[in-house]
């Protein structure tokens, strides 16, 4: 890249090239009674790619939101180019050349990419400003190799294109400190690599890049330095070649949690067979097209694939929320069930763990005992239609939260929404698994959970399998699929396009996910 690029020209006025472009000292941030950041220190060098690594809830995003001015810190010092600064809103962060790409993109969906960039960078007469920004954004996208149609509404762009728009947006604002919050969460391996290559070339021009992640592999492969956070504190800043995976994991979780592969030893007869099922969306487009697979007892069938390829619809079908148009679903000892209602499917021993806990998993406004007992009450386990026995409910709930290690329960009358993500998920699992299901459908069961909670969830899935159940695990996280599955199907365009027996080759799966297989 030519050093004269518009991106990140070194400001000759800045003498302090050896020091830190950004330094945070003793940052404290609380939300109500919850301390999100406790005495955090962080620094960033010019021209480096820096990974901020930690579990969910470690405070990484909160820290970066403070840097970009969205949150105000309770106390602490911020130095920008060695000068103390106080950033109280995003506009001031822009002025200092700090730009952040949030995990959930901050794009106005009906607006075109250009309008989104204008929103952040507009100045002067509107038409002139639009033209100037179009020119600048095009120039930058050429330099870092981003092809984006600036005139399409953002909602019509793919996820990775939307991310490019976000990055272009902050680069057009002359950002020199670029913060990416979980940038690879929704990207394929290939897209992630391209994105990091672009970030590397930005760093070469003197920009500094921080990326927030919970994936060790990324931090090792793409970062110059790694800062580890745990429980709202910065633990250490290390170089990637100083530590191995186990040591780094220990830093992240405080103890070693390494999940080992545990393949099934006892695979039996087919439990559930999906035979060329198809389903149209409301707009007439096929969401599921001739999808077939079979899961046997004592087996975890992993479904890999990029989100939006029909996974949500598949889960809706398997839980009875939606009906298929053609094809059949058969249970080996029952027969065809494609017209069964959600309650009938439950009674047949099929349970679903939905990825969207808030909508399908728990009623956040109800208390823990109510959430736990809802299916049992329907089944008549806790009294009759007229009288529900609260004592039975409380006893059963207490046993379950004990057995499934649901923490953070002060009282059973506490609202379920107050549980942390991991404990809420454990409560869902406690409820669903208390009836010893024969078929489990789990859709991204570890989304938003930290390493420890994830491994607990995985353990329950393995237990269900070892009991002789059939488990369908749908996940966008390839590492999770590779770790858990006994057999792997790849979902793309609403169908299973390839199947692999474990242990499978990561790259082969990645290729068939993107349709290059």
């Amino acid at each position: 890249m030519p050093p004269t690029s518009v991106v990140g020209q070194l400001d000759p006025a800045v003498k302090n090239t050896a020091g830190f472009v950004l330094e945070l000292r003793n940052i404290v941030k609380t939300f109500g009674t919850f301390t999100a950041l406790d005495d955090v220190n962080f620094n960033l060098k010019r021209g480096e790619v820096h990974a901020l690594l930690g579990e969910n809830g470690a405070g990484k995003s909160t820290l970066m939101n403070i840097v970009c001015g969205l949150y105000a810190a309770d106390s602490g010092e911020r130095l920008h180019e060695g000068e103390p600064v106080w950033i109280s809103n995003p506009r001031e962060a822009h002025a200092l050349g700090i730009g952040m790409v949030h995990q959930h993109y901050k794009l106005v969906k009906p607006f075109s990419a250009l309008e989104n960039i204008q929103l952040e960078n507009g100045s002067g007469p509107y038409r002139t400003s639009l033209n100037r920004i179009r020119q600048k954004a095009t120039e930058i996208s050429k330099i870092i190799g981003f092809e984006v149609d600036l005139d399409l509404p953002v909602e019509q762009l793919s996820i990775s294109e939307q991310q490019r728009v976000e990055i272009l947006k902050i680069l057009t604002a002359d950002a020199r400190i670029i913060i990416l919050d979980e940038p690879t969460a929704v990207l394929t391996d290939m897209e992630a690599e391209n994105m990091f290559t672009a970030m590397r070339s930005l760093a070469a021009t003197g920009c500094s890049v921080v990326f927030v992640t919970h994936k060790l592999r990324e931090a090792f492969s793409f970062a110059d330095r790694i800062t580890v956070m745990r429980g709202g504190k910065t633990i250490n800043t290390v170089l990637p070649n100083q530590l191995d995976v186990t040591e780094l994991t220990t830093l992240i979780v405080g103890e070693t949690v390494v999940e080992s592969v545990n393949r099934s030893k006892n695979i039996g007869d087919p439990k559930i067979t999906l035979n060329e099922i198809s389903m149209k969306r409301n707009n007439g487009v096929n969401a599921i097209t001739d999808l077939s697979f079979q899961v046997r007892s004592g087996e975890i069938y992993g479904i890999a694939g990029i989100g939006g390829n029909g996974q949500n619809e598949l889960v809706a079908i398997l839980s009875g929320l939606r009906k298929i148009d053609t094809g059949s679903i058969e249970l080996n000892d029952v027969g065809r069930v494609e017209n069964a209602t959600p309650i009938e499917l439950r009674d047949l021993g099929i349970v679903c763990i939905h990825s969207d806990r808030e909508t399908y998993g728990l009623a956040y406004g109800l208390n823990i005992a109510e959430n736990f007992s809802i299916s049992g009450v329907l089944a008549g386990e806790f009294g009759s239609y007229i009288k529900v026995k609260h004592k039975l409910i409380h006893e059963a709930t207490e046993l379950a939260i004990e057995a499934y290690d649901v923490r953070g329960v002060r009282t059973l009358n506490q609202k379920a929404g107050l549980l942390s993500g991991g404990n809420a998920q454990k409560l869902v699992i406690a409820r669903e698994f208390s009836r010893e299901p024969s078929i489990v459908v789990a859709h991204s069961p570890c989304r938003g959970l930290d390493v420890r909670a994830s491994s607990a969830v995985h353990e329950y899935l393995l237990k269900a399998r070892d009991r002789g159940g059939a488990v369908v695990l749908i996940s966008e996280d390839l590492d999770e699929i590779l770790l858990m599955s006994d057999r792997i199907g790849v979902m793309s365009g609403g169908a299973i396009v390839a199947e692999f027996d474990a242990p499978a080759n990561r790259n082969e799966i990645g290729k068939s996910m993107t349709g290059h297989g």
């Binding site: 939300f31 919850f34 999100a36 970009c68 969205l70 949150y71 809103n89 995003p90 506009r91 822009h94 952040m100 949030h102 993109y105 901050k106 794009l107 106005v108 969906k109 009906p110 607006f111 309008e115 989104n116 204008q118 929103l119 952040e120 507009g122 509107y126 038409r127 400003s129 947006k169 409301n282 707009n283």
Partner: protein, 308 residues
């Protein structure tokens, strides 16, 4: 033929209150603030318009004062829904009930009720009004009719072609994105609510100062509610809103004429017509395209630091 020309030529003065109120609501709601208080802001505009005309003697100045007073009241509404983040439905309804009581109280105390005044008349274009068919529609109107068209052009231009318009739309579609881009959600919403409610107030003032030239308690007669329906009918777009207002202008202008031509229709059935028309367009609108066209963040208060 005469029936038709007479009918069409009075349509604008029935359509203007609908048009201005609907436009004001769209501005407000495109910024993400659901405004169910239209009826209240219209009443305040109508009452102040009449009162100011009685006091100052200048109906033109009164229109401005009426708009400003509705705008001032909207700051209270804005404080409730934007700053305090009170439920927008409740707040809107509260504004209506407050305005009903407030206008009755003030106008009675000030002795403005049922007092006729001269108001604003039609502009004399001389022989132009004698053009067959369209002469009276185009050249036998008051000044506000023309200003209304002008306001529509200005607002539509501002929304689509200016930075400020972009910001208001962004705040209404995705306030988090706008906030992260350095656009003040609070200020832009206040601005949109203020401007929008000024127009709603102007709609009310037009009814008292120009059309009836008198203030009567509760004289907006449900037109604010119809304007809310028109916003949905127009899918939050400006020109369909103007068309919808013209349609309702036609229906309202028809009411006195049905009796005049000697048709034997029960009076209450005739008075019901605007509401029947409202129901009809709502059903029609819901049968149309899948998306309602509503702004993404309509009715949702914005909080920056919310932990989930």
């Amino acid at each position: 033929m005469d029936f038709f020309v007479n009918w069409v030529s009075v349509v604008p003065q029935f359509a203007v209150p609908f048009a201005l109120a609907t436009l004001g609501l769209i501005i407000c709601e495109r910024s993400g603030v659901l405004n169910l208080g239209a009826e209240g802001f219209m009443l305040v505009g109508a009452m102040i318009g009449a009162g100011a005309t009685l006091v100052t003697g200048s109906p033109h100045l009164s229109l401005v004062l009426a708009a400003l007073s509705a705008g001032t009241l909207s700051l209270l509404f804005g404080f409730l829904v934007i700053t305090l983040r009170v439920n927008q439905v409740i707040s809107g309804l509260t504004m209506v009930f407050f305005a009903q009581g407030f206008t009755t109280l003030v106008s009675t105390k000030m002795n403005w009720t049922n007092k006729a005044f001269e108001g604003i008349g039609k502009i004399d274009f001389g022989p132009l009004a004698d053009i067959p068919l369209v002469g009276r529609l185009l050249f036998d109107q008051d000044i506000v009719v023309y200003i209304t068209i002008l306001i529509f052009i200005v607002v539509a231009f501002a929304f689509e072609r200016t930075e400020q318009g972009l910001r208001i739309r962004a705040v209404g579609e995705n306030p988090e994105a706008a906030d992260a881009a350095g656009v003040s959600v609070v200020m832009n919403r206040y601005f949109a609510v203020f401007i929008g409610c000024m127009l709603v107030g102007l709609a009310g003032a037009y009814m008292s100062v120009v059309v009836s030239k008198i203030w009567v308690d509760g004289m907006s007669g449900g037109r604010g509610w119809i304007a809310i329906a028109l916003v949905i009918f127009a899918r939050w777009r400006f020109w369909p809103a103007l068309a919808g207002a013209a349609l309702f202008g036609c229906v309202e202008a028809l009411i006195p004429r049905i009796a005049a031509v000697g048709l034997q229709v029960p009076q209450y059935f005739v008075l019901m017509l605007p509401y029947v028309a409202t129901l009809t367009v709502m059903v029609w609108a819901s049968l149309g395209k899948n998306s309602s066209g509503a702004p993404g963040a309509l009715g949702k208060p914005f909080v920056r630091e919310e932990r989930n």
